[in-house]
Symmetry: C2
Subunit: 415 residues, 2 copies
């Protein structure tokens, strides 16, 4: 009997009818001879309701930070409800099942409440129950600290729970979601987007962190580190229908048909901050980005350019849109140390990226990108690259145009 971890997100368990659909998918894997562990999220909307209550508990009014350990107590209850309901539903279909909370397994997490990391999972009790023929229904998104408090893993943490449990059980992990796989780009923007049969962990990681919301970044990192075979597939299938093959996320070597570019991602969550008239001497960058790092503001793209007047420079960088105002305040406060003349912020920008492990061995990918964008009259504001991706910052109004142009330029509609 081979083991299998299945994970279902909030939209897949949004109501009792969908939970029954999930139960049928689980049962199909049991009948196919698998020992199944199912990881579930809270019913869609429930986490937001719980979070709103914690917001209303007076922290903001009192000018205090939220009590993160108690926030976790409240918010983790959502997954508990789904786990109990799915276990009941499975039993009512004649499938042996029981629910497991993070503290019952246990899934040991650190005490960074609200964004905890999993330290250790003891698979013995869980594996024993599965060996005995019982489906293990696991509340995602939660663990327990070494001193016995509930800790949650942050938004999207159920993906991480599922991959970590798969790693502990030595099992592959099927992530069921509301789409039937990973696409070359967002099908809502480009109807010619194709589903990928396979994608490498590294590409998936770039896709996830560059705006494709199929999988949480940390879960992909974890899968890559522990070589957990991942699969993304749809839970939205009718009774009796199979969920299809989805997209397999695996090692680069396990992909036979190599592509230079696998996908085009985009994100509208960025804001660009521009600093003008910086003194052109060492230590300036350190003064700017040191201040931002101290305040936990994540900086993504950075470009520095010589100003037309000989002895000053300009600097442009991007931060998350919700951090933009705070970043401006921090930089303004450090003005005496930095010494710039003017600052501007622009949040009407988008980041568009092409991703592909083939870039490592093929030249000319960047050239094709810039050419395709130039042909459509799209102006590039900032460029950043890594080994397997190229990102450009453009005017947000051009997002769809740029995505479609790049999708065509790399022949992704003809996979």
């Amino acid at each position: 009997m081979s083991r299998l971890v299945m994970k279902f997100g909030g939209t897949s368990v949004a109501d009792l009818e969908r939970i029954r659909r999930v139960a049928r998918l689980v049962n199909a894997e049991v009948l196919a001879g698998h020992q199944v562990a199912v990881v579930v999220s809270a019913m869609s909307g429930k986490t937001n309701e719980l979070v709103a209550w914690t917001d209303g508990s007076g922290a903001a009014a009192a000018g205090l930070p939220p009590s993160d350990d108690e926030y976790d107590v409240v918010v983790a209850s959502g997954e508990q409800v789904t786990a109990g309901l799915l276990a009941m539903t499975l039993r009512n279909m004649g499938v042996s099942a029981r629910s497991w909370m993070g503290w019952q397994i246990p899934i040991i997490a650190d005490d960074a409440h609200g964004r905890a990391r999993i330290d250790d999972i003891s698979p013995e009790k869980l594996g024993g129950a599965m060996d005995a023929g019982e489906v293990a229904v696991i509340a995602g998104f939660q663990g327990v600290t070494r001193d016995g408090r509930i800790a949650t893993l942050g938004r999207g943490g159920s993906d991480t729970s599922a991959v970590a449990i798969a790693a502990a059980l030595g099992a592959p992990c099927d992530i069921y979601t509301d789409v039937d796989g990973v696409y070359t780009t967002d099908p809502r923007i480009e109807s010619k987007a194709r589903k990928l049969a396979r994608i490498s962990y590294e590409e998936m990681l770039e896709m996830a962190s560059l705006g494709a919301k199929v999988l949480q970044t940390r879960s992909v990192e974890l899968a890559m580190a522990y070589k957990v075979p991942l699969r993304v597939l749809s839970s939205f299938v009718e009774p009796g229908e199979a969920p299809g093959q989805g997209t397999i996320v695996c090692d680069e070597e396990d992909i036979v048909e190599k592509r230079i570019v696998s996908g085009v991602a985009y994100s509208r969550d960025e804001a660009k901050i521009s600093l003008f008239g910086l003194p052109d001497h060492p230590g300036v960058s350190s003064a700017i980005f040191g201040a931002l790092a101290d305040a936990n503001v994540n900086v993504d793209m950075i470009v520095q350019s010589k100003a037309r007047t000989a002895d000053t420079a300009n600097m442009e960088f991007t931060v998350g849109k919700r951090d933009a105002q705070r970043a401006v305040e921090i930089v303004r406060a450090a003005q005496p140390q930095i010494g710039f003349l003017d600052i501007a912020v622009n949040d009407d920008v988008a980041k568009v990226s092409v991703i592909g492990v083939g870039m490592r061995s093929h030249t000319g990918v960047a050239k094709s990108m810039f050419q395709a964008l130039a042909e459509k009259g799209v102006n590039i504001q900032v460029i950043s690259t890594s080994e397997i991706k190229i990102s450009v910052l453009i005017d947000a109004a051009y997002t769809e145009l740029a995505v479609r142009a790049l999708h065509a330029a790399y022949g992704l509609d003809q996979l």
Copy 2:
């Protein structure tokens, strides 16, 4: 520093504004020098929502009993949410606090899921935190079985949690509810009803089991067994206002001013079943009530009378209204063993009771009761008595009239 347990029911924590009111009441006790443990129920309406989901999980459709251990997983989440929110709210008011689930204390319960009983409470960790100056906010209604599963104590179980924790901590227990104490009768029926300053455990037990819904019966039993001083008082006070003295539930010896009758209770939850033409020989009662007991149907009042024809008898008894139809079916199925001629059910009845420890030493209480009812033309269908109460079954239409007549007859409006 003396310890104190405070308990707040679902209507007292129904929304964030009420939770803040609860936090102020807790803070007042902290400022008065108490080490406080607070036991909370689920927010009003939440338990019903969770129970409805478990009903919808397919048990009924599949013709199966609900999975009680998973039912408990789902339903116990309601108290978890309240406990987290109250702990956050207290901290935001500057009061040191943390939440405790049943499994964290632990409160060890048996595995009769959905109606579990508390076996044991380890007060060490809880007491240690309280000694360190932290308010313990405890999720009511829940414990953990010896093999680590969540178990709930049944409806109203948070009262039982609170009293059991008070017993384990050696502390008194204040039960906050939506009324400001225990009344001589229901003030919605008799506006002259008076709040009792004190009532004995035994009287409270009769009041609770006879329909006064202020406290859950099991919690009063537990308080009596462990001599936990109980107090019932209102959580519905404005900021800055004190909650008043409420009603103290205590040992009979601690009540200086003895009364013959302390209160008048009523219940409309009964149904009367009548059997006609029973053979008048030994074993008939046993055949009827044995069959009902085997099916877990609780029988309350019983009266047997000789029929006018010499050799048969009639029997009348009451059961809970929701069990009535089932009871009739059970008795019908046992007809061959019992041998009655006819059966009738009447659920348009009410039980009215007078309660008082003074009955033990005073005669004439029953006579006054029958006389007061006769004066108002109320016909008595069945009578049952215990050492400290007399109950009569009457036509439901006369309920209010009977309650008011008895309240006046025993001078309860002039306490």
